[in-house]
């Protein structure tokens, strides 16, 4: 309905009684949500320490496990730089959104003029920021201190790590809809992450697997995360394969985030 010939004075007079419909997404509400999630984290320094330190400690451990074969450390280390943010963000997001669902704050937020996209983007923004810190430290440690031999740019490693973190956030958000307790949410980790971990090419190159498993690994997003990391490891410039891998991971993250949005219902049964 357009105001047509009505004067501006009538439209301003009617505006207080009919507030504007909340739009699907609002920049201020998204950032407010992201700040709130980060503030919650700040009151929990132990979680921050665990998120930041564990990947570094694991890489350090790995470096000396493969003390005699630095080539193995190169390939596994690079893959792990992509896998860590995915796993951490998956766990953190699934628990955080489950708590939001069970504490009643989700119901309260959805009874307010908050778009579902605001909430999801807020979470993605906050955990994305944490993932950047985590990945910068882990990548920096691996490349500068532990001598991880990367042919390509460390920035590209970081980009893939960030996309992986977003994918982890998306998967965590999605599965939290199917968990009714923290116990179940934690069990989704082995269910969703472990098969991908086994099939992503970390343990053996994917073409060496049984053809059926290779076929399955072709449709799992973590495979492309690891492939992307290995592209950076072996090539100086941005290859077409790298772009394809990065796009697939990004598209998967976006798709799962959209599915996650569908699980946030304003009206509960």
């Amino acid at each position: 309905m357009s105001p047509g010939t009505s004067t501006s004075s009538t439209t301003t007079r009617t505006s207080p009684t009919t507030p504007p419909r909340p739009s699907a997404m609002n920049y201020s509400r998204t950032t407010a949500t992201a700040i709130r999630v980060l503030r919650q984290l700040r009151h929990d320094p132990r979680t921050i320490a665990l998120m930041i330190l564990i990947p570094c400690v694991m890489l350090l451990l790995l470096r000396y496990v493969f003390d005699g074969s630095p080539r193995t450390f190169d390939s596994i280390g690079a893959s792990l730089l992509g896998i860590f943010p995915l796993i951490t963000m998956f766990l953190v997001t699934s628990i955080a959104t489950l708590r939001e669902r069970t504490s009643g704050t989700l119901e309260r937020l959805l009874a307010m003029p908050l778009g579902k996209a605001d909430l999801i983007a807020g979470y993605a923004l906050a955990f994305g920021a944490v993932a950047i810190v985590q990945s910068v430290l882990a990548t920096g440690l691996a490349v500068w201190a532990l001598g991880l031999d990367v042919t390509g740019s460390a920035w590209l490693l970081l980009l893939v790590a960030l996309l992986d973190a977003l994918l982890g956030t998306a998967l965590g958000l999605f599965v939290s809809a199917f968990a009714s307790s923290e116990f179940q949410a934690v069990q989704f980790m082995p269910a969703v992450i472990f098969p991908q971990l086994l099939l992503c090419g970390l343990f053996t190159p994917r073409p060496n697997m049984h053809p059926v498993l290779e076929g399955i690994s072709n449709v799992l997003p973590m495979s492309y995360a690891v492939d992307g990391m290995n592209e950076v490891l072996k090539h100086t410039d941005v290859t077409a394969d790298f772009i394809r891998d990065a796009l697939i991971v990004a598209a998967c993250a976006f798709l799962v985030l959209t599915l996650g949005a569908a699980t946030l219902r304003r009206r509960s049964v």
Partner: protein, 256 residues
Amino acid sequence: MSPTPPAIRAAGLTVVRGGRQVLRGLDFEVPHGQITGLLGPSGCGKSTLMRAIVGTQAKVTGTLDVLGSPAGDATLRSRIGYVTQAPSVYDDLTIRQNLDYFAAILDPGRASAERRHENVTRAIADVDLTSRADALAGNLSGGQRSRVSLAVALLGAPELLVLDEPTVGLDPVLRRDLWNLFHTIAAERGATLLVSSHVMDEAERCHRLLLMREGEILADDTPDALRLDTGSDTVETAFLHLVDEAIAAGKQKETV
């Protein structure tokens, strides 16, 4: 001047939850600018009715108009304050951080930062928690947490406040203070309040009462008229009288 339309109007309101009819064809009106008490034993459908009014309940049939729009309409979201039975606040944020966040959702943007700050400070003062504003919600007592939850609903001066058992577990002094606050909000801000309780002595503090039992409304009147009609001294005996009548009527229907 025409009389103010009712804040809530329901006709043939039915809700099915878990395959069971929780609300059975309710017809009632909640007048504007008053405190209406929603009373009845636990499990009679009070919370479901409140969720239907704020628009978070699925499978609602019949007519339910809230502030002139159908319940659940997106434009109503900033005009209704809703407090669930269990306090819904973030335990790992301070009281002020909780309110800051919800205020930013209700009234977003940098331009309104000052107004938001005033609203937050006032809401904390309203529930008498100013001295604890920087305490983590998780470290508060149960009564204090439910007051934080109430403060969130008071943000942005909503036209309709839907409060699900807001005084459960509070000491008598706090209960009295909160009821005084409810009356101030109704009188000074012209807001409509719908307050549920299963404690009958709180009924005396309401302007009007809706008495519920097993998904049906037993009575819709002022506390005085209820006592007068049933010849009782208190609302509690009036309620028991009405329940006995309903049971007797039900038995008669079965035998016919």
